[in-house]
Symmetry: C2
Subunit: 163 residues, 2 copies
């Protein structure tokens, strides 16, 4: 165990490098999906009925609400989602998948799982599986953070955004 003093503080670099690799592979896998990896995230969230309105999608993805407006516009134009007014609160719009969106998401999820496998393909299989699970667990641990570590931050995108 390296002590704090001895370590090189390269977790940030490592996360950035992994995310860059992920986004690069995603770009191929997602083809012309509006918004690329961001669009895929929005579809995934919309599919999990857990959150309907744009504010929640913005918080979950870390995207700015102003960008989300246009991203959802594009997904809607592509016929993958629809905005429907929430009957309980007409200020907010529920974003739900169309049939075409559901089908597209199913295809893309399979391809994105392959992307994840490829990203970690240099690691021993078991290591890759457990690392993947551990990363997901660590990310979820931030959600409960009372200090709100996981809120939207400007620059994640600037460094790691996908085209």
């Amino acid at each position: 165990m390296a002590s704090t003093q001895e370590r090189q503080a390269d977790l940030g670099w490592s996360l950035g490098a992994l995310l860059r690799g992920y986004l690069k592979l995603s770009a191929e896998a997602l083809g012309d999906l509006p918004g690329g990896a961001r669009g895929f995230q929005v579809l995934s969230i919309a599919a999990s009925n857990s959150c309907g309105n744009q504010a929640q999608i913005a918080e979950s993805t870390g995207l700015d609400r102003t960008v989300l407006t246009y991203l959802i516009d594009d997904l809607e134009k592509a016929g993958l989602v629809v905005r429907t007014p929430d009957p309980n609160d007409r200020r907010s719009r529920r974003v739900t998948l169309t049939d075409a969106g559901t089908e597209r998401l199913t295809q893309l999820t399979s391809r994105m799982n392959q992307v994840e496998d490829r990203l970690l393909s240099r690691l021993p299989r078991d290591d890759a599986d457990s690392l993947r699970a551990a990363i997901v667990r660590a990310a979820h641990s931030l959600d409960d953070d009372p200090e709100g570590v996981c809120e939207t931050v400007d620059q994640v995108t600037a460094e790691v955004t996908s085209a």
Copy 2:
């Protein structure tokens, strides 16, 4: 072991969430360092005499060379680094730390290690240590990738960039 079909393809979201958290905490820890987390990465690379010129720094950090020009300008103005022409190839500039830069980097590395600890502080200590090491290992595994998975990608930043 979830099969590819059953998984949710949320590694990308998780990496983004972790990086957002990291960048948020970094912003506090780095104060007025030019370029924030990006500036810290440049200082770290300049300190490891391994790579001197800007092209190598750009490749390692995933930053665009045009942005790097201005970022290094700012670090130079702050008296933390100096650009010196490489005597062996006068096209390229070696970026080296000044004494003040070395001192600053030492302080900041300590603070950034604390940031990494805080980021994973919701996990059991041993899990956090091994996860951190595994992430760093996985990131380095991309470097050797013959397919060049780890090259500069636009959007990592858009999603995960630091302020």
